[in-house]
Every structure is written in structure tokens, then in C-alpha cells.
């Protein structure tokens, strides 16, 4: 509690600085920064913090797209508090109904804010595998992220999808269409992308990490295949799950591709010579470390995950 309060006091002068008339930033709620990337496309850029750091509930990029009849929210942040800040920011801009809350995948930093939107009565939208993934995670989220939910915390606050996307789905927001696409197992088993046709903006969810080390919770090789397909998409800009907005998607995908390739090749080599998981954790893709934030908290887990999978390939 105390560190978080301290951080908030620190950020106040920063907000005042950023809120001068020329800045893109809009104060939707105290401490909540929003950028308009194109007409009707708003994003809040999360901080590159570990999941145990103060401010850990605000690490993902979240936002919304505004149509003439509907607003669609894309990810809701890692706490009900962050979700509420996003809702307040939307309501400061528009009275149009929030018809859809889309979750790009199951991870806690993208879904815990869902509960803040229930009173707007949206349809919650996710990958066809999201419901099952949330069912596996609900108890864990409530136990480990109790402070990020409303008190008392309970599993009913972890809101699952009403609309399951098996392959693709188009949502009409009024004079603008969102194309949703469900992907095979990659970052997780329930990755979904959202493309705003009018502005050419692709929300990649965590299929794209920038600067922050990608976390492999699905399949590293599956993820590489998905990157091949993402690279072929014609987009004006891409909003990654973490890190800065990209104007050149193929170029923005390269560091992640290089890391995943190094991870797979390194684990394969280690297994081929009968190396242990511990050796693999130390040696595999070690040259990648200088290129990424939050290496220590994620890389060992990635190697272990890929090692366990490749053991039986």
C-alpha cells in the first residue's frame, strides 16, 4: 500500500507537466494518461514494471476505439482500479454506449479491470479458449491479486467472455468496423488481435512485446509461426501489449522473433547434448539479455517452459 501511494505522489507533478495544452496526454482520471493515436483510437501505455513492483497493475497497454454507436474497450488493465480509470477516461470523451469489452488473452494484467465495466452492460469478447483459460486461473488470481480487486475479493469479479471468437469476428461500432482474429497457441492458448479498419490500427495484445522480454506461456514455435502471419498484415500502426506503439510492424516484430528463435535453437542444442534444464537456463539465448527489460523475472521461466515442451518433440 505505502509504496503505491508514494508512487502516486511522485507522479502528480509529472502529470501536471505532461498535461500542458500541446501534449497528447489527456488526464482521464488522476494519474491516468491517454493518447489519441488516430481519430477515435485511444491508448493508455502501461509501465515496464515487474508484476511484483508497485504499480504492477498498470503494466499493459489498454484502450478503446470510438464509433458513432458503440465504444469497444481493448483490455482493461491489471486491477479494477485501472479498469475504472479507463472507464472514467472514456466517459470524459463520450456518452456512446460501451458495447464491447475485448480481452486479448487471459493474463492478469489485461483482464482484472473487466469488473469495472459490468455496470455498462457490455458484451465481453475473447478467444474461444479464453473461457477455459480463465476458469483455470480464477482461484489463483483471487488469491494472489486480492488487492487488485474490489474488497472483498471473489471469483465473480474475474469476468469471462460472452462472445467467443473461434476464428474471426467483425464488430460494427457505427461507421467503423473492428476485425477480431483468434490465433493458434502462441504467447498463450487464447491470443486475439483487434484491427481497426478505418485507422489501420492493429492491437496485437501480447503477441508483440516491445522492450519488455516476451513471456512464453503457450508455444515458442507456434508464436514464431504467428509472427510470420502478422508480418504480412498491412497496418498503419501496431499497439503492442507492452511497450511503445510501432509505426513499422515488420520491423517491430524483429527483436521478438530473434529472441524466440534463439530460445528454441538454444534449447534444442542443449537437449541434443543431454544438457540439464539448469545449464539451459544459464546458457540459452544469453546474448539476448542486453536487449530486454525484466530479463531476470521471465527468461528462466521461458527456458524451462520450452525445455519441457521440446523434451518430447
Amino acid at each position: 500500500m505505502q509504496p503505491r501511494a508514494f508512487l502516486q505522489t511522485l507522479t502528480w507533478p509529472l502529470i501536471a507537466l505532461l498535461s500542458h495544452p500541446g501534449a497528447l496526454a489527456i488526464a482521464g482520471a488522476p494519474g491516468f494518461q491517454l493518447q489519441q493515436l488516430a481519430p477515435g483510437v485511444f491508448v493508455h501505455i502501461g509501465q515496464q514494471l515487474a508484476l511484483d513492483a508497485p504499480g504492477h497493475d498498470d503494466i499493459a497497454n489498454i484502450g478503446f476505439v470510438l464509433g458513432t454507436h458503440c465504444v469497444a474497450v481493448i483490455d482493461t488493465g491489471g486491477s479494477v482500479r485501472v479498469g475504472r480509470a479507463l472507464r472514467a477516461a472514456i466517459r470524459q470523451r463520450s456518452r456512446v454506449p460501451i458495447c464491447y469489452v475485448i480481452n486479448t488473452h487471459v493474463h492478469v494484467d489485461h483482464v482484472l479491470g473487466n469488473a469495472a465495466f459490468v455496470q455498462e452492460r457490455p458484451k465481453f469478447v475473447g478467444h474461444a479458449a479464453l473461457a477455459a483459460a480463465l476458469a483455470r486461473s480464477r482461484d489463483f488470481f483471487v488469491q494472489q491479486y486480492a488487492e487488485d480487486l474490489d474488497q472483498p475479493p471473489d471469483t465473480a469479479q474475474i469476468i469471462g467472455p460472452d462472445i467467443a471468437v473461434g476464428q474471426t469476428l467483425v464488430l460494427d461500432l457505427g461507421d467503423r468496423r473492428l476485425s477480431l482474429r483468434a490465433w493458434p497457441v502462441a504467447h498463450t492458448d487464447c491470443d486475439l488481435t483487434v484491427f481497426d479498419e478505418r485507422s489501420g490500427t492493429l492491437w496485437t495484445g501480447d503477441l508483440l512485446f516491445r522492450d519488455r522480454l516476451p513471456a512464453v506461456d503457450g508455444s515458442a514455435s507456434g508464436w514464431l509461426s504467428v509472427l510470420d502471419e502478422l508480418e504480412r498484415l498491412q497496418v498503419t500502426r501496431a499497439i503492442p501489449g507492452h511497450g511503445p506503439v510501432a509505426s513499422d510492424l515488420p520491423m517491430a516484430l524483429q527483436p521478438e522473433r530473434r529472441y524466440l528463435r534463439a530460445l528454441i535453437d538454444g534449447v534444442r542444442d542443449e537437449l541434443a547434448r543431454g544438457g540439464s534444464m539448469q545449464q539451459a537456463i544459464v546458457q540459452v539465448a544469453a546474448a539476448e539479455q542486453p536487449h530486454w527489460l525484466l530479463w531476470d523475472s521471465t527468461h528462466a521461466r521461458n527456458v524451462a517452459h520450452v525445455y519441457e515442451q521440446m523434451e518430447w518433440q
Partner: protein, 289 residues
């Protein structure tokens, strides 16, 4: 009892989530660890009981790392598959008779008991284990001249015993793979087996999954036993064992595996170094299921 166990169930944590939980709680335990002055991690009721049972009236040597060391990650990459490695130095190789691996706070603390055949030159044993909650992990070695030595490590992890089966638990039960190192001094052995702990819940049905685990392993060469192990529910899904020596391993090596349903599996390594040279088969009362 049952309700208590259910209440402790934690679904397989998300990757970032694990790190955070562990790191948050780590600080609380640093004080405890630093209060222990003899180089060992905190004791526990389970360990005190097991010490009386297995090593009554024995002095546990405080080892020098060059004789024997235990490598365990303080923050495990996966609570359900935490890698542990025991290293034996020159003075120890060829002089170790038995090794117990004990995870104090697991529901079944004795993870494995290895019996090393006389003359077998084991320099390293690696395995992967489930960690149920923050715990001391111990390796206790009895030497051929009757000494008992212990190393311990503190591991921050929780939920490893109740983590639901992964997609990787499918496949052919009892399939065995051998991965020798290029110099033939070490061998990574992987056994396809769910190794259900009895504390897992099927995420689809909500029903408890009965324990079903590898209970015995025997490595032999030309009919002569090299190493045997009694194992339990603390081994991770798809158990692995990595054995290293200070000399090239003998060949061929046969591995016989028995599980808790008395199913038997076996495979042998011809001595070939390139590729996957395993041949495995299954037999016995339990069949392959």
C-alpha cells in the same frame, strides 16, 4: 482433511504471476534464513521426524562444497518442475552409497532415495521436483565409509504438487528417451509419465486426480545394477533424471521403471551418441494404460 487440501489448491500460475508471488514473500524469509548459522537452511517438524527415523544418533557432516553440493534455484522457473542437481567432487565420486532427497514441506517429503552400486562413479544426479510451498530441500548422502553428509537449499515456490496436468502429460505412457552428452559422461533420461501427485484437480471435471507415479527406477549394464531409486509423488510430470560420471558411461545401459500401479516400462541405450538411441517397451501387471 479433504476440504483443507482443496482449499490449498492453486491453479498452475501464470508465468509473471509466479515470479511476483515468490518475490513478495521472499523478503519475509530472508530474516529466517540468515538466522541459521551452520550453513543449512531452516529445519522443520518434517525434517526432525525424518532425521530421527533415517539417521538416528548420526552426526550430519557440514560439507565442504567441493565434496558435495546441491544446486537449486531460489526462485524456481516452475514450481511443478523445479530442477535440482547434486554434484559430487573428486573425493566423493565412487564413495557414495545412498542419497536421499527430502523436500521438508511437501506432503510426501522423501522425493527420492538413490542407492548407488559399489564402484559406480556418480558425479552428478539431476532431477525435477514438485515444490508444494516454500521449503528447505535437502540432499543427504551416506558414504561407503559410513559418514552422513547433508546439503540443503531454500526454495521459494508454491503450488507444484497441485498444479494441474499440462498438455505435455499426454503421449505414450512409459516412453523413455536417452540423451547422452557427446563425451558419453552424462545421460539425460526422460520418462513419459503424468506422475500425478494425488493433490491435483482435473480442471475440466473438477474431480480430484488419483495419485499415479513412478515408484522405482533401476539402471543396469549387462545385468549389473548401477543405480536404483525409490521415487514418489514429488517428482515432476514426465520425470527426468540426469546422471553424470567422471568417466564415460558403460554401455549398453538398461532402465527399468515401475509405477504405482505396478506397470513396468523399460528401455535401453546401445552406447550410440548421435540422436535418440532409445528403444522402449512396456510390460507387466499394469500394462501400458
Amino acid at each position: 482433511m479433504h476440504a483443507h487440501l482443496i482449499s490449498r489448491l492453486i491453479s498452475r500460475p501464470q508465468p509473471q504471476a509466479r515470479a511476483s508471488v515468490l518475490a513478495c514473500l521472499l523478503l519475509g524469509f530472508c530474516g529466517v534464513a540468515s538466522a541459521v548459522g551452520d550453513g543449512q537452511t531452516p529445519s522443520s517438524g518434517a525434517w526432525e521426524y525424518l532425521q530421527r527415523q533415517f539417521y538416528p544418533d548420526r552426526t550430519l557432516g557440514v560439507l565442504d562444497e567441493r565434496f558435495m553440493s546441491l544446486e537449486a534455484p531460489a526462485n524456481t522457473p516452475d514450481p511443478a518442475a523445479t530442477p535440482l542437481t547434486l554434484h559430487f567432487g573428486d573425493a566423493a565420486v565412487g564413495h557414495i552409497k545412498q542419497i536421499r532427497v527430502i523436500i521438508d514441506n511437501n506432503p510426501s517429503p522423501v522425493a527420492a532415495t538413490f542407492d548407488v552400486a559399489s564402484g559406480a562413479r556418480v558425479a552428478e544426479i539431476g532431477l525435477r521436483v514438485r515444490i508444494d510451498r516454500f521449503t528447505s530441500v535437502r540432499a543427504i548422502a551416506e558414504t561407503t565409509d559410513g559418514r552422513v553428509e547433508m546439503r540443503s537449499a531454500w526454495v521459494n515456490a508454491s503450488g507444484g504438487c497441485s498444479a494441474p496436468p499440462s498438455a505435455l502429460s499426454a503421449g505414450t505412457l512409459g516412453e523413455i528417451r536417452f540423451r547422452p552428452s557427446p563425451d558419453a559422461r552424462s545421460m539425460l533420461v526422460s520418462i513419459r509419465h503424468p506422475n500425478n501427485s494425488g493433490f491435483q484437480i482435473d480442471p475440466r471435471s473438477g474431480e480430484p486426480i488419483a495419485s499415479h507415479y513412478v515408484s522405482h527406477l533401476r539402471f543396469s549394464s549387462d545385468g549389473r545394477t548401477l543405480l536404483e531409486a525409490n521415487t514418489g509423488i514429488s517428482l515432476s510430470e514426465n520425470p527426468t533424471l540426469r546422471i553424470a560420471s567422471d568417466q564415460p558411461l558403460p554401455a549398453p545401459i538398461s532402465l527399468d521403471v515401475v509405477d504405482s500401479t505396478d506397470a513396468h516400462f523399460n528401455a535401453s541405450w546401445s552406447g550410440a551418441l548421435a540422436g535418440n538411441s532409445a528403444s522402449s517397451s512396456a510390460s507387466g501387471a499394469g500394462g501400458t494404460r
